[in-house]
Each structure stands twice: as structure tokens, then as C-alpha cells.
Symmetry: D3
Subunit: 190 residues, 6 copies
């Protein structure tokens, strides 16, 4: 039985109906990745919201931070694992495999990060992300203290929190729209 090939359960505008700035981004994606990530196509139903989403995404995942890009992707996958978000687990699981060069690490983040061989710093970081996702009202000074003890600064704690929070947003956009990931992610860095 063939897997679903829709991009979103909501309507998806034709790429050539999009404004120029978005068409330019589409072209750059094809050039760099070979495809336009389906999250962009799905979000293009509301173009200004797509622009804001990309801006937030790029800042959170790619800009300067005390967290490495790999660490941010690890948070992305662990949050998506709590929320069982197919799109984000596929796309960001691939990113963990690529950035780490360690295919098993990607699987561990998807399946159960507690089984991974992590440094104490990374384990505490992911424990915080898990709790902030599952029981945000119970986060307290003890949880922040556990991060400070690993050497995380105020800015780092902010970034752990915002990465966690952002994937709690994007997981819900993907689930609400039944967003399907591009098939290209599956074969990356296996």
C-alpha cells in the first residue's frame, strides 16, 4: 500500500502563484537541497506567516548560540518524539544523522534518548526539553539550576527553552495539517 503523497491536508498553492521573494527561496532550496521542504509548501497557504516561520526557524536553528547546531537538532527530535510528529522526526532525525555523522544517534533521539550515550551536559539539556514539553507548569528553579550546574549560561537556557518551545509549535502545525515529509530525507546518512 503506497504511502501518502500529499503535502498537507489543507490546500497548497501552486508555486508559481507565490510572490517573487518566495519563488526565489523555492529556487534556492532546489539548488541547495534538491527539493523544497514540504513545510514551506504547506505554510505558503499563508505567505506572511511562512516568512515569519522561516525567519524564526533560521534564527533558532542556525544563528550563533552557545548550543551547537547538532544540540539544537537533538532537542528538535526529542521534542518531536514526545509529540510523535512524523514530519519533524523524519526531517530532523536526518539532520541529527548528518550533523553527527552517527546514524544511531539519530535513531536514539527518535526512539528513546535515555538509551543514548550522552554527556551529562547533553542529558540534562534533553531532560529539560522533555519536561518543558510534557509538564511545562512544573518547571521550577531546580530545573534551571540543573542546567546552570552544567555550565549553561542565561542565554543558553533561553536558547534551550526557545528551541523546545519552537518545536512544540512546529509539531502541532505538522499534525494539524497532516504534513508529510519529502521522501528524500529517508535515505540521508544511513
Amino acid at each position: 500500500m503506497p504511502q501518502p503523497d500529499h503535502i498537507s491536508a489543507l490546500s497548497v498553492p501552486s508555486p508559481d502563484s507565490l510572490e517573487d521573494d518566495l519563488q526565489a527561496i523555492w529556487a534556492k532550496c532546489v539548488e541547495k537541497l534538491g527539493f523544497v521542504p514540504n513545510v514551506y509548501s504547506a505554510y505558503s497557504l499563508r505567505p506572511q506567516r511562512l516568512r515569519n516561520f522561516m525567519k524564526s526557524y533560521n534564527e533558532i536553528m542556525l544563528s550563533d548560540s552557545g548550543l551547537s547546531k547538532l544540540e539544537r537538532e537533538m532537542i528538535a527530535v526529542v521534542v518531536s518524539s514526545v509529540n510523535r510528529c512524523y514530519y519533524c522526526l523524519v526531517a530532523h532525525g536526518a539532520a541529527v544523522r548528518q550533523l553527527s555523522g552517527d546514524p544511531q544517534l539519530g535513531e536514539l533521539m527518535v526512539m528513546n534518548y535515555r538509551a543514548a550515550g550522552l554527556s551529562s551536559r547533553q542529558r540534562k539539556m534533553l531532560d529539560f526539553a522533555w519536561k518543558l514539553t510534557t509538564a511545562p507548569a512544573e518547571i521550577g528553579e531546580a530545573d534551571r539550576g540543573a542546567l546552570r550546574q552544567e555550565g549553561f549560561s542565561n542565554e543558553d537556557i533561553f536558547d534551550i527553552a526557545e528551541t523546545t518551545a519552537f518545536f512544540n509549535l512546529s509539531n502541532r502545525m505538522a499534525s494539524a495539517t497532516d504534513m508529510m515529509p519529502n521522501p528524500e530525507y529517508h535515505k540521508m546518512t544511513r
Copy 2:
């Protein structure tokens, strides 16, 4: 015992250390609201992220949409109620009271939206927001169908989803940083 008067459990930059565009926003807030919302002050630890947050916030809550501003605030409060987010319940509870002119409606959204006297359209909208917050992986075509039956379009469903998703982000930022709301909200439209 006096209530906490910190803005955030993380450090908060002095307003006059901020770049000009942010200082201008601070001034406009004081002019229009009488105060700078603490979420801005807390977020100013990471200025570019604050800019993105404000941009997303304004688009989601204030731009043109098939959802009224009140409906978007109702979603904001119901999501914050699931997550028991003190900051967002205070600030957006006040917004529901103001936009509706109905103080009880604000309380109902904070305490239990199922007890409110809602139209079928609004009840279905909030049921979707509740489920997308508590069990995103279980959202399916039947849930979207229930919204379509109330006349919500693809764009409206997108906006319900994104408003829900955005407060799942902001609730977690507030909880992660122990953000305290400005006291001014408490007395509004009682």
C-alpha cells in the same frame, strides 16, 4: 507575603542598553499601554529573537484572518489553561475580557471553557485547540472535518492551528523563564 516582582528568572537587560528599534517599541508601549509587557523585557535577552517573536505575534493575533481577534484570544487562553501558564493566562485573560466586554467569558476561558455559553462554531474551535495541545499525534481528518462543518475554510483551520501552536510556544517560554505578568493586567475590565 508579597508576590514575586521579578520579570524573568533569567537576566533582563537594562532597557537603555537595547538597540534603537527596540527602545522605540518600548516607548510606544508606554505611550499606548502605560507599560512595557514583561514578555518583551524577558525576551530582550536575545534581541533578534524578540524581533521575530513580536513579528509572529502581531501577524497571528492582529492581522487579517477569518477568526476574529476575540476568537484568537480565546484560543490563547484555552491553550494557556491546558499548560497552566500564569503569565499568558493573566495577560490574555485580560484581553478576552477587554475584547468581549464580558468579564465572565475571560474567567471561563481560564478555568474551564466547557462551562461557557459558546456557539457551536466556537466550541468546536476550542475543542480542536484543546486536542491539538494535549494530543497532537491523534489529530486526524475527523477533527479537521468537524471544523469544516462549522464553515471554517482551509485558511481558517491554518489560523486556528497556528494560534494554538504559537501559545504552545509562548507558554513554554514563560514557564521556562518563570516570567511574571505586569500587575496592570489584573484590574482590566473587571
Copy 3:
């Protein structure tokens, strides 16, 4: 859309059909409060049960105890917050505001008591009430020990437990009957 103005989803006897002792209480309520609390009207469907309910209520909330009246109201609101009971949150949230003279404290109890500025004694008391409400079978000697360490006596622990237990009863009566609070509570001590 106007909010529901029923008292209960079950039938409510006409006040003048009630026996004399209850009519006298109705009169005293109007004299002292300006209204008859809807919980009395709803409960008057079963008059003897109403008499017992009032007797238990007055003993638990108003009689001599090692817990102050405010502390008992704080427990009432925190339990009602777990159970998302609209009636009790409105009525006892108002009582916390009145007894403390601190409107924010009322909101904190309704929304998330963990964000409040509490003494260690009160935090432990409310942690016990929360756990006894959500996971009664897991209460053990360690939980009682935490209260004893704050100086609570056997009688005090009994009273914390019974106040918690009583609101687990009354929250369920309010939810089962869709009991709506008198509108007068909303404006008190804002």
C-alpha cells in the same frame, strides 16, 4: 454570546417551597452577602443533604484550626484548579482575594500556585493538597513527614487532608450538575 444563567443542570426548587430552617438561611445570606450562593440553591433539591453539606462546609472552612481561613481557601482553590471546577474557582478565588487583600494571590492559586511567592510552609501544604488530589494512592509517610517538618501537628495534617478531600467532593458536585457561580463573585476585591 451571553453566559449561562442557570443555577444547575438539575432542577432547582423554588425558594418558597423550602422548609423554614432553609428559608431562614436564605434570608441570612441575602442580608449578609446580598445573594444566596448558587451551591445552596442547587443542593436544595435534596434538603437534608444540603443541611449536612453546610454543616461540613462551615466546620471545615470556618471553625478553629491550626490552618488560617486564608490557608484553607488557598487549598480550596488549588484543588479546584486541578479539577478545573468553574464554580469553585470563581467563588473561592474571590475568597482568597478578600481574605488576603491580594488580588494576584487569588489569580495565582487559580492558575498555577507554583508561580506564587509562598512561604515554605504554605508551599508544602499546597504540594500535599495537589498530590492528594492527583495521586492519592501514592501518598506515604514521606509526604506526611514533609508537613511535620514545617511544624504541622497531627490535627493540622488532618485539616489539610480534609479540606483537600472536601473540595474533591464539592468540585465533583459542581461539575456533575453544571453549577454556575453567582455573578457577584467576579468583581470582589479586584
Copy 4:
């Protein structure tokens, strides 16, 4: 390893230190049952509260109602099963066995009421009690409607609700005080 023989984890007054009315009740219990139920002994730490508890208990469980005494005991056990309350499961499990003359029915209420051979009326009654115990905020008109369809009157629904609510109170008193049931219950109607 012998089982615990304390009555309560809190202090228990000597019976002869109690006021006359309570001593008279103690004597009547010994005469009729052969023992004083431990819940009375445990509650006698706070004598007026014991009086109120007994009064509520007798009204709810023994007075005239559209629910039979057996049905009220079935609710008591199912609620205590949700809350895994050892005291109440032992004492009221025995009551179900006695009133029904059916030892298996007692075990079914303790272990999983869904496996029992119940009439539709009793199944709906217990489904309501289960939901009101586990998710009170989600009770709505559909749940009351399911009871009305089985012929339950307003007064009957009130009594189902109050029986459920009362055991949510007493389960928590028993768990908070580690109340142990009298050993005599174990052998009854086996």
C-alpha cells in the same frame, strides 16, 4: 511479615477520652458489628468532624433514594478502585458482597467493573461515577443525558453524583492518614 495494625498514621485518641455521644456510638458499633470501624477511630482526632462525617455518610448511603443500597455501595467501590484506596475497597467490597449475596460481584467492583454482568442502567451509572472521578471537568450534558435515558431522575442523578463525590472525599482521608481497615471485613460473605 505481619500486616500493619495501626489505625491511622496520625494519633488516635483513646476511646474513653471521647465525649459521651461518641462513646455511645462506639458501644452501638460493638453491639451491632462486633467492632468500631477504624474510620471512626481515625476521625475521632477531630470529634466534630467525625460527627459531620457520620451524618453525611448515613444520609448518602442509608437514607431513602432512587438508588438501592447495593447500587450506592457499587459506586463506593468503583470510585475507591480508581483511587486505589485500601481501606474503602476492603470495607465497601465487603458491603457489596453482603448486600448482593454475590462474592464475585464484590471482586468485580474492586478489580474492573467493566468485566461484570451488569444491567445497562448499572453500567451507565458506574461509567458516570468513573468519569466524574477521573475527569470531572469533562462531564457534560451528554453524560447526564445517558443517565436520563436509563430512567434516572434529577434526584437520582444528584445521588449518583454525591455518592461518587463522597467517596472521592473519604478515599483521600484514608490515603492521607494511611487508615487500615478492621480485619473483620476480610472474611465477610466469602
Copy 5:
């Protein structure tokens, strides 16, 4: 209302249609116990699976182990209590009563093992079984360490785990097939 007297919600083969080895086991059960346990009859729908089930069962519950037979039955009942499995609670509750000669211990395992008077070794063993049943993905080295500190060897930990795991299997077989226990268990060792 008479309790259900079916063996399974699925079809149950006539005993004389079974192969000789199974008929011999049936005969031996009648000789030793006075009846054929309904789990065998229900499982005989798939005869080779029944053979494997009996083999595993006998090895896990009856062969040499660092855990006593009573301890293994205690685990069986606690796991079945989590899963609210009527068949297994009845049959193995009886086994705890028989092996311990302590009817109350059987009830405590069924109702709430935390209220029992257990040695530290047995309490830790059952805490492990509870957590492995309710939150297997959160078991970690600290949980195994708590068992090692009580003197449990690697083989003992294996046996605690497998007994727990086996009843997570058999509880689900009983619930999936609505398996009813033989009435003979109810009266044993009361």
C-alpha cells in the same frame, strides 16, 4: 444479576477435540485442582501457543529462582493491579493468599501494595515492577541499582523483570479475550 459464565469472548474448543498431550494436562488439572484453569481453555483455541504459554509460565513462576514463589506471585498481582486485569487478580490473588497463608496480603497486592507491611527488599522489588509496567522507557541504571542494593543478583533482576513482563503479556491476553476466572478461586484461603 448473575455474573458472566463464559470462558472467553472468542470461541473455546471442546476439550475432547484437543490433542492427547493437552487432554492429559486437562486430566491432571482436574485431579490436582479440581478444575481446568480457564486460561488454558481460552488459549486452546491456538494449541501450540498454549503449549508455549504453559512452558513459559511454569518456568517463570515455578522453577528455581532467587525469588520465592510467593514473591513471584506478589509481582504477578501488582502488575495485574496496574492493568486492572480481572482474571489475573482473581487467580493470582488466590495464589498470594495460599502461599503466604495471609489473606490480607492478597488483598493488599490487589488493592494497593504501598499500604502493605513489606520488607525493604520486597517493597523495592514491587516498586520496580510497578515502574517497569507503567513507564518502561524511564527505567534506568538507578532503578537497577536500587535492586542491587537490596542484594538482588543479575539473575534475580532478570527474574523480576521477566515476571513483570510476563504478566504484562498475560493481562493483555485476558483483557483482549474477556477471559473469566474459574469461580473456585474466590473462596480459597479466606
Copy 6:
């Protein structure tokens, strides 16, 4: 940071200390698969239990059944996804990819089977497995009826139940022993 390379958190016997029948199985595994599955090595701490485990496993997963081998592997992975079992998700995720020739299907079973393009028959089968895993006490005739409507026979329902139940056993063995999967699984059928 290299991933854990232990087989089990409990001790693992040297292969040449095993009895001849097990050594023969080890040799056959190496011949057919290129490696001995770590679950066998971990289980060899208790050799007779390993023999029983293999016998049950082979019967449940490989013998004649109304369920295809792929369907049984799909159940295995969905159950392991509920329980977040790293070992079983890796090993049986690979089996789904191999048997279906569809790498995405494997990922969907691991991440969220509700997002897959399944026949109604398979969706109902997996819904049953999910519920039997998460809420076994709530399985009732309606759940079995949903399977019968898809054409599943009594034997088929038995097999769905037993496959689900078996992975609830094996997931807990893997989690209790921190069993790590052989690295060979990761690259299969990508």
C-alpha cells in the same frame, strides 16, 4: 560521543560457556544473519528462559496465521513505539522495511502509525494493538467487534492480541536490561 556498545546492563555469559543446543543456534544465526541478535545474548543469562522465549517468538511471528508476517511486524513496531523501546524499534523497524520493501512504512510505524496510508483492516488492527497496550482494562466487545467487521476471525483476533501482548513482554525485558540492538539493523533496506 560514541553510542553504548554493551549488550545488556546485566551480565552476559560467554558464548562458549553455553550448552550445545544454544551454541548451535548461535552458529546458525551467524550463518543466516551475520550476527547473533543481542536479545539472545542478553537472555542467555537464563538459558531455559531463552529457549522458551525463542519458541514463543518463532510461533508468534513466523508460524501460520491469518495475519501476514508483515502485519505481525507492524504490530510489533507500533507496540514498541508506545513503550519507546529502543531495541525493538530498531530490530523490528528493520523487519518492516525488509518485509514491505517500503522504508517509509518502517519509519511510520516507529513514529506515528496514524500518519500512514493503511487499509481499513490494518488501521483497525493497529488501533486495537495501541489500545490493548495503553488501556487494556478498557478493551470491550466493541473493540473486538471492530475487528470482526474487517473480517478477522476468532483465531486472527487471538493472534493480534498475542502479538501485541508478546511485545509488551519483550519491550519490558529490553528496557529492564538496557538491551542495545546490533548495529547491523540500522542500514537494512534504507
